[in-house]
Symmetry: C2
Subunit: 337 residues, 2 copies
DNA sequence: TTGAAAGCGCTAACAT
DNA sequence: ATGTTAGCGCTTTCAA
């Protein structure tokens, strides 16, 4: 079923049908109705490929994700898909393995699907000018920014929380409750990524409050998943008995860490307080409820889409947006006396 | 950058470039190398739309999902995306709201993107012949089947567990541990969907073991999410104090239900044993670990893709596959003495 | 082994 | 207000 068939059935030309389909003016009401009726009748849907081909621009934007396993991302992805759909665009979803390069993956996707723009989720924090040059369309880094690269502000867009600052807040919260021996569970100290930033926030908070950094209380998981986080906390709890609190860099990892503590016979928060950053649905239902700094997942997605589409539609240039977390008080922190 | 540009740079015709790009024989080694070299050099990627347009068939398959919020689906989706990519196809992902009709959504997607086939996740269990007629391509129902419709076996494909049987197994497991007062948390008794099937399994298991069905122990959530499950268990635990076990129809809901029990001062499994079906990653990390019948999420996805592609490539017709769960023994069940 | 050219379904400029 | 027609980038006959 093509536009030609519709035209024939209506006794009009293809261009008239095309006009109706694209809401152009200059079509008589009679003809418009007739066409719409036939279109409904035969369930005609235009061929997107043909459309994309003739239009200088498609109406698709791409989402490249590294780490779909991360429950926090799931919530952001949902919000992005939603916002993209609302705006009348189609989202092309592509997940990549941890070793893959999101920029080349994105570049291929852009070319083969003629994408108007790209949203990157879970990408690297250290792009260089040369690296992003392969991307010929606007893009926005969602939930991260170019903290370790030399990119100019106007060379890319980003929507993210301030990882270092929020980590600082989390640790400070523990300190305010009287904790001094505060463990840290992170992926890697020097990953040039979220771990490193939150590590810095952790160190800074300790420093500012006159607590000496004890590197032995910092445990690296080596991977950003629950299993590794469980293992890390397990090792730590066996090695050290003297910490009274732990900051885990992500909710999902914190859930696993609490389980590890429990399996080692520790009680949360009596023996060890726990705080994290993210605010996934699941961590509302742990026992105790995880106290965490909630990232505005929905807003993160919506803002990213808005910024991208503004660029795609030439309404604005590259922008950066820093969102704030909000404290969700659970029951995983106790005041030390 | 088009195929024409490549042709010019190589001093050959577009058809020759096309041949190289599509691995056709009848191209001299010299020319092939030259073309490939230029292609690499300029990072040329063919325009998928143009390709799809001229080819009678695209290489895309669609995935229509209702209920992306369900963590179990997340794992299945990942596996599907993976398998589709492995096979050299592209996956077009589309999520729909709970009220939307997956068949019309799928039909539109098929036509506009010229999809070769469709995988439906979280769809209805009661399609009629007329309803599926709108789909002009092969499709497979992933994680459900036509339990409440009048479809002929060869009219559609499915990959799923036997919901009723597995629910039966779950409840039987509780009975074998001495439980007689067994609560049930489900979405709705008569939703013509997974809840209804698992409800049947629950009833049958009670019946077969001479336990009278107590409808007051069956609590409907009305929605398939954690919040509703929490509310349902909360209500139940306030109303009745005499049940010693609960079967919750999904892992995610079970996690929320355990939290509700805990908030009501109940201990799992001392005061109430809990079992569920699904086996999401998260429920390994609850305290206690949830005992559950694990659906083979990865296999569910892989099989669905395999069956679909076999049909798309005309290697086989419609097929149905029933997968088995495996028991993951957590700590949420205690033996009643 | 290569090239020329038709045509996939659609939109938009141009003509009427 | 409507029709005619030239491409968009690609694959695939058909000819050479």
């Amino acid at each position: 079923m093509t536009i030609k068939d519709i035209a024939e059935r209506c006794g009009v030309s293809v261009s008239t049908v095309s006009r109706v389909l694209n809401d152009h003016p200059d079509v008589s009401e009679k003809v418009r109705e007739k066409v719409m009726q036939v279109v409904e009748e035969v369930h005609y849907v235009p061929n997107g490929s043909a459309r994309d081909l003739v239009k200088p621009k498609s109406n698709s934007i791409g989402l490249v994700v590294r780490g779909v396993g991360n429950p926090f991302f799931t919530e952001v992805i949902r919000s992005i898909e939603n916002a993209v759909g609302q705006a009348g665009y189609t989202m092309i979803f592509h997940q990549i393995a941890s070793g893959e390069d999101e920029l080349s993956a994105g570049a291929s996707l852009v070319q083969s699907k003629r994408l108007r723009g790209l949203i990157l989720l879970g990408g690297c924090f250290d792009y260089s000018k040369e690296q992003i040059a392969v991307l010929k369309v606007p893009f926005v880094c969602c939930s991260y920014t170019n903290s370790f690269g030399g990119l100019k502000e106007d060379a890319y867009s980003s929507v993210t929380i301030n990882d270092q600052k929020e980590a600082y807040k989390a640790v400070e919260l523990l300190i305010e409750q009287g904790h001094k021996k505060i463990a840290l569970i992170l992926d890697s100290r020097h990953d040039h990524s979220v771990s490193e930033l939150r590590y810095k926030g952790y160190c800074q908070a300790l420093l500012d409050h006159g607590i000496e950094l004890d590197e032995e209380l910092v445990e690296e998981t080596g991977k950003f998943d629950m299993e590794s986080a469980y293992g890390a906390m397990h090792r730590l709890a066996r090695r050290r008995k003297d910490f009274t609190a732990a900051f885990v860099i992500a909710d999902s990892m914190a859930v696993a860490a609490m389980k590890a503590l429990s399996d080692e016979g520790w009680n949360v928060p009596e023996d060890c307080s726990v705080i994290a950053i993210d605010g996934i649905t699941m961590s509302t239902y742990t026992v105790p409820t995880l106290t965490t700094l909630v990232q505005p997942a929905e807003e993160l997605g919506e803002r990213s889409v808005r910024i991208l589409l503004d660029m795609v539609e030439k309404k604005a240039g590259n922008r950066h947006m820093e969102l704030e977390t909000s404290l969700r008080e659970g029951g995983s922190i106790r005041k030390l006396d």
